[in-house]
């Protein structure tokens, strides 16, 4: 597929471009947080429940907002405190409509009441993303103001309450989740995934720690591959290479696996970003738009479950799914947010790509200039440019804010480098070297 030539003279500087992108995504958390509970909506769709991962990432976003003067420090502290107080006071029990149990939380909660929504599962990874934000906030709000003191106290209380060991259900590794109606889900964390942050938090717990062998057990399921000439710890969707990295500075620190491979998880994500670009250039399914400046395959919304015949091609589109490469599913849907979240790893390919995609596919930005998934191959109903996601998603907007910031100032990484539990957890996972 040929791609339009990128305009040679950018209308705004790269810095201004990133500023605008970061601030636009930040706006999601101002607009879609509940003022009473502090919970953050999963998506901008009316009536969307809260996502605890979005709420946790939101805490990191507020820290960035305070540093970037998008909001005042006091406002950021207030928003943080609202959420922490809610989490501390909400019902923890095995009742089907509680907020959580064993100090862990259900994936989706009602925005107003904070009770379990959609019959969702008690999610270990989403709880981990929530706690990563909580600990980032606790590290940032280190002042003497009463609000900041209370943030630290509540963060410590909540973290100590979380029973990570229970989430192993007596098995060798942490389970994905639990439901009161059913018990533990039949999934464990197998293969490389975004769960390093989960293990680091669990291993570092002073009260209910995961046993260190659990990390090694998980590690044993990793697959080091040579794909398109890149040696990397492989996983299909790009977000997997980013969600733990929102919080943890993996530059130079290595666990046993990475020591063996003479790599680190930061470098691995850089390679994963290049593999994404390479795949887009190869474009095996011949989707419209894919090029070296137009890539980004990850989990997310899509055009819907539709199969169309286009000449001698069969076009299968999906709704929400974990898009992945190189084996699919790949339905031509691109997630520009995931490109932005690779900025710290490979700015030399990310920035030109973001600028190119913004220029050629302006529809990927909504009215608030927030990035959203799009699919230029879908020309449904004569809509020029194809399908674009109708709504913004919290856990897509936050990585844009956090990773632009990490790229520029390493703010979140610096904060969590001195977070005792995480340092301890990484140590128990076998990480050595670098800033550790």
């Amino acid at each position: 597929m040929s791609s339009p030539v990128r305009p040679e003279v950018p209308a705004i500087s790269d810095e201004a471009f990133l500023d605008a992108l970061q601030q636009a995504s930040f706006g999601y958390f101002l607009r879609h947080a509940n003022p009473d509970t502090g919970l953050v909506a999963d998506t901008s769709a009316p009536g969307s429940p809260a996502s605890i991962a979005a709420a946790g990432m939101g805490l990191g976003v507020y820290v960035v907002g305070a540093e970037r003067n998008f909001i005042t420090r006091a406002d950021a502290a207030h928003r943080t405190l609202t959420l922490l107080r809610f989490l501390a006071e909400s019902e923890q029990s095995d009742a089907a409509n509680a907020t959580g149990v064993h100090g862990l939380y259900y994936h989706f909660l009602e925005m107003d009441s904070g009770r379990r929504a959609w019959g969702s599962e008690l999610s270990t990874i989403d709880t981990a993303l929530l706690f990563a934000g909580i600990l980032a906030a606790a590290a940032y709000f280190a002042g003497d103001a009463s609000a900041e003191q209370e943030i630290r106290t509540l963060a410590d209380t909540l973290y100590r309450r979380a029973d990570w060991r229970w989430a192993m259900d007596g098995s060798a590794m942490v389970k994905h989740g639990w439901k009161p109606e059913f018990g533990f889900l039949n999934y464990g964390w197998e293969g490389y995934s975004e769960a390093i942050i989960l293990y680091a938090l669990g291993l570092g717990s002073p009260t209910h720690p995961l046993p260190p062998p659990s990390y090694r057990e998980w590690n044993a399921t990793f697959q080091w591959e040579n794909l398109y000439g890149w040696d990397l710890l492989y996983s299909g969707p790009l977000f997997i290479h980013q969600f733990s990295h929102l919080w943890l500075d993996f530059r130079g620190i290595r666990d046993e696996f990475m020591r063996e491979k003479r790599c680190d998880y930061f470098e691995n994500s850089r390679r994963a970003s290049y593999v994404q670009q390479h795949y887009a250039v190869l474009n095996p399914k011949q989707w419209t738009g894919y090029s070296r400046h137009c890539w980004g395959i990850s989990a997310g919304e899509g055009p819907g479950f539709v199969t169309r015949r286009e000449g001698s091609l069969e076009r299968r589109y999906f709704d929400y799914t974990a898009r992945a490469l190189p084996y699919g599913p790949d339905d031509g849907t691109l997630a520009p947010w995931v490109v932005a979240a690779s900025l710290p790893f490979a700015p030399e390919i990310v920035l030109p790509s973001l600028r190119y995609m913004s220029d050629v596919y302006p529809q990927m930005s909504d009215e608030q200039n927030r990035l959203r998934s799009f699919n230029p191959s879908v020309a449904a109903d004569g809509v020029a440019g194809g399908w674009v996601a109708e709504h913004s998603v919290g856990i897509e907007q936050a990585p844009i804010v956090l990773m632009i910031e990490n790229h520029r100032s390493s703010l979140i990484w610096r904060l969590l480098r001195r977070c005792g539990p995480l340092v301890r957890g990484l140590g128990h996972a076998g990480f050595r070297g670098g800033w550790l």
């Binding site: 080091w224 040579n226 190869l282 084996y327």
Partner: protein
């Protein structure tokens, strides 16, 4: 196999006996007028079971001039010929045609699609069975010099056994009595009536709606094949992925393929009860606490296979066994009675036809020719014959890592292979795992339209001790899908180009301009 199961098996033979091909098949594998020979003297080898392992073992000994007997209680050829590989692959071939007609427009050919004539498909199955059964026929074995007995074998001592009143003495015996399907423990299933992976091939009419319980190799193969032939198939798998033994990418590609075919897929779901009303069966399912039902015309369910140890009199021969794990053998396939060996399904972890053949060869060599061949030394590939096929040989990465072996996997997506692109068969990959820092191949997984054929190249390399880099020097015909293997080896070779080596070559080439 208990009495009721034996009865069912006999009924199946009887049912199958309709039609000329079925008659020819039965004439080969269970001739009605067969008279058992009168035993005279001691046999070098008595093989119990006329499936693949018994047939191979008996044939080898007879070919080498030995005195050998083979005892079969049902039909020669075993599961593979009668109820397993042969009928299932014949049906899969027909089902692939259905899929190709469905998709022919993707290759620029408008076929309008065609429906399968199930009766004709099954007639073809019988014809193929009849043809292949010639190799396993009683007459052919007899002509080789094998004494073929039909009947029930029962050990009467350490070196003797009884076949329906006839006493056979042996120097060595080979237990190759095979296995049988286990009845799944699902409430109401037996009362409602169900098919297993053997009886499903007795179907005379294509069920309009079919439920397949279990997403292992057999379940996935049957589900896809019957759906493509025209049934609407629902497949229910208890685990979060199909083929839980295989790596995630392989299982994911298979899930995608089944979904594209239009099967209704329930992963992470358990069938807890089956009820019947008239000709319909309703399965009650639970997924993460949520209950649902599906109503179908037929249910195929399996719960693995159990060894055929009943009635063999193993105690009389001092042969240790277990009802679930089968006959206990050492690495040389010798049982607790040094005169008696075992091969095939009767021993644990040997439940493929090609393993039956391989273990029979080892057992015979060790039993009669002072062999010291070990079961653990075998390199055993296997394949799930879905579309695409999923084939594996050697170690899985996770097993290597758990054993502390550093490994690296070279991956070539089939959508990067010219012939696969030209064939429109791009779903899949070749992944070859080596011991990191060496070129020793530890294992491979191939997902491709003909992965079962392709894996043999890797198996050959492993058995022959050929390193991965050598495969890079093997000229493959172009264009073929097997070139993916060479691409993987080429990728390995490129990793050997260290920055230092590249600097050296760059200087050399600059100097030689």
């Amino acid at each position: 196999m208990n009495a009721s199961e034996q009865g069912a098996a006999s009924a199946r033979i009887a049912l199958r006996a309709a039609g000329p091909f079925a008659t020819r098949l039965d004439a080969n594998v269970r001739p009605r007028a067969w008279r058992n020979p009168a035993p005279s003297g001691r046999y070098n080898l008595v093989a119990i079971g006329g499936g693949t392992a018994g047939l191979i073992g008996a044939s080898i000994v007879a070919t080498l001039g030995g005195k050998v007997a083979l005892i079969e209680r049902e039909a020669l050829g075993g599961d593979c010929l009668n109820t397993g590989c042969v009928p299932s692959k014949a049906i899969i071939r027909s089902s692939r045609i259905c899929a190709e007609l469905r998709d022919s427009y993707l290759l620029g050919v408008e076929s309008g699609g065609r429906h399968a004539d199930f009766a004709a498909v099954m007639e073809r199955v019988r014809r193929i069975q009849a043809r292949i059964s010639q190799k396993d026929s009683a007459d052919r074995l007899q002509s080789l010099g094998v004494d073929v007995y039909f009947g029930n074998a029962r050990f009467t001592g350490k070196d003797s056994l009884d076949v329906d009143g006839r006493c056979l003495r042996f120097r060595r015996a080979l237990i190759a009595s095979g296995s049988h399907p286990v009845i799944p423990s699902i409430e109401g299933l037996v009362a409602a009536g169900y098919l297993n992976n053997e009886t499903v091939f007795d179907l005379m009419h294509l069920p309009r709606r079919l439920l397949v319980v279990g997403g292992g190799p057999l379940g996935c193969e049957l589900a896809q094949a019957f759906h493509r032939l025209g049934s609407h198939v629902t497949i229910v798998q208890r685990e979060p992925q199909f083929l839980p033994q295989e790596e995630r990418d392989a299982a994911q590609i298979l899930s995608e393929a089944l979904a594209r075919d239009g099967l209704t897929i329930h992963l992470n779901t358990q069938v807890v009860k089956v009820t019947r009303a008239g000709d319909e069966r309703t399965a009650h399912m639970v997924c993460a606490g949520k209950e649902s039902t599906v109503t179908v015309d037929e249910v195929v369910a399996g719960a693995g296979r159990a060894p055929n140890v009943d009635g063999l009199g193993l105690e009389a021969a001092n042969v240790d066994y277990d009802d679930e794990r089968g006959v206990a053998v050492d690495d040389f396939l010798r049982t607790s009675n040094p005169r008696i060996y075992a091969a095939g399904d009767i021993i644990e972890d040997s439940r493929y036809t090609h393993m039956s053949e391989a273990t029979a060869r080892i057992a015979v060599q060790n039993a009669l020719f002072f062999g010291r061949k070990r079961l653990s030394s075998l390199t055993v590939p296997w394949c799930t014959y879905t579309d695409p096929e999923i084939a594996h040989v050697g170690m899985y990465t996770r097993d290597a890592r758990k054993r502390g072996i550093p490994v690296k996997t070279f991956s070539i997506p089939m959508n990067n292979v010219d012939r696969a692109i030209a064939d429109g068969e791009e779903d899949g990959f070749v992944k070859v795992t080596i011991k990191d820092g060496t070129d020793r191949i530890l294992g491979a997984t191939i997902v491709a339209r003909h992965a079962g054929e392709m894996i043999n190249e890797i198996t050959l390399a492993m058995v022959a001790g050929v390193g991965f880099k050598t495969l890079s020097n093997v000229i493959h015909t172009y264009p073929t899908q097997a070139e993916a293997i060479r691409h993987a080896a080429d990728a390995y070779q490129r990793t050997r180009l260290t920055p230092l080596l590249k600097r050296v070559t760059t200087r050399w080439l600059a100097w030689n301009r």
